[in-house]
Symmetry: none
Subunit: 249 residues, 2 copies
């Protein structure tokens, strides 16, 4: 077998099995483990797999949505979340949207900070259990994909609250498409929550900038500001023509 063919076979195996074990491959292909290791080393160097002790794994660890969840918050996400958290002052009332970025924001809130938090995300509510913040949970039908309460009951409850700040998580922030997300029901809920707060801040970690999803939440000019991380050189100029952009350092 050609060495190049073998590399392809390894990659295909990696796709189907989700992992490569040096020992097994050596036995199966009738080669020494050294050769397999060399292959794995080269593939890893080419950025096609991740080398681990005993074999190799795909670049994105594991499979499916599990990967999305365990993915450690990107540095960008953390920076944006930290800055957003710094806007919360003692005694203020804030609404926290659902999502991984707002969860990161929740973790960035000082444990001892006394404030009022309103959220429709049970995940965020649970994360605030050991905080001094008092929590008002908006109930309703749980939308599994993004782990937030939605529906008529949630809307009714949301309509009765009001806050100073709303931290909005989105899927995409685009100069023309505005703020977007993947589900219409979710979009409506976000819109409603925004209407219940005096100021709305959008959490714009780098992967959101320039992206757009199917369902519009709000146009850019209806939010107070976008907290954005310009580190990847995204074009913030286009956004700034429609909304105020806060650059995190």
């Amino acid at each position: 077998m050609l060495a190049a063919t073998r590399r392809d076979l390894l990659l295909e195996r990696l796709r189907t099995d989700g992992r490569l074990v040096a020992k097994d491959l050596a036995l199966e292909l009738g080669l020494s483990e050294d050769s397999i290791r060399r292959d794995l080393r080269d593939l890893a160097a080419a950025g096609l797999c991740t080398r681990v002790y005993g074999g190799a794994l795909p670049i994105s660890p594991a499979t499916g949505d599990y990967a999305a969840r365990t993915t450690v918050a990107t540095e960008s996400k953390r920076r944006v979340a930290a800055h957003a958290a710094s806007l919360i002052t003692r005694g203020s009332t804030v609404i926290l949207d659902g999502g991984t970025t707002t969860l990161e924001l929740t973790r960035a809130i000082p444990t001892g900070l006394e404030c009022d938090v309103i959220t429709h995300s049970p995940t965020i509510a649970a994360a605030l259990l050991d905080h001094a913040a008092s929590v008002y949970l908006i109930g309703g039908t749980l939308f599994k994909h993004s782990a937030v309460a939605t529906g008529a009951a949630a809307a009714e409850m949301a309509q009765r609250v009001s806050a100073e700040l709303f931290f909005l998580g989105v899927v995409g922030i685009h100069a023309e498409a505005g703020l977007t997300t993947g589900d219409p029901e979710e979009a409506a809920m976000k819109r409603l929550l925004a209407s219940r707060a005096a100021d709305t801040y959008v959490l714009g970690s780098s992967e959101k900038l320039g992206a757009a999803a199917r369902h519009a939440i709000l146009p850019l000019d209806e939010v107070t500001a976008i907290i954005a991380d310009p580190s990847d050189g995204a074009d913030l100029g286009a956004l700034e023509q429609h909304a105020q952009v806060i650059r995190v350092p």
Copy 2:
């Protein structure tokens, strides 16, 4: 199995079970507890879990006293929870109370079981995210100590639901004092939830039997049955004069 794969598996377990027990994992994976402990230590160092005595817990659900209690799911609690979970049938609607025992019940529900769950506990709602069950979350003011929504808004929402089963968690089950808990507001909420279900089952792990707290929830004769674990030789006879008692094997 690759060591790296094992770490991923642990993280996935952590997400589905909400906890990792070193002893069990060692037995299940055929490794020494030391290796598992090393894994847990590394994962904790990477900020992916929180190390606790006996295993590890997710980062988010706090490190406060509530989290501490979730670790020590006694064998008794597990048995009672498992039996309670077996009462839930496909397509049925159940109300789950908050608390550590009902959280254990939640984990005992088969992931693929299609049913409707109503709960006022964000922790339980979060634990059901990867289940087939559809979840209706009752919102309201979050009562930190037991991590459930209470207050007027919660009561109003609870009044509108109805279910076949209600699984009630309590602090004490006493022949004379009846079912009791530590907070009056919480007691009222439990009472209300019980009125919304056709049948109410009390989760009576061994440490509850014979105990009594300050605030009464219901007299014993107003519940369908107490699911009790008689393993520690508690006096079930006295209870049986007031309520039906289901002994778990």
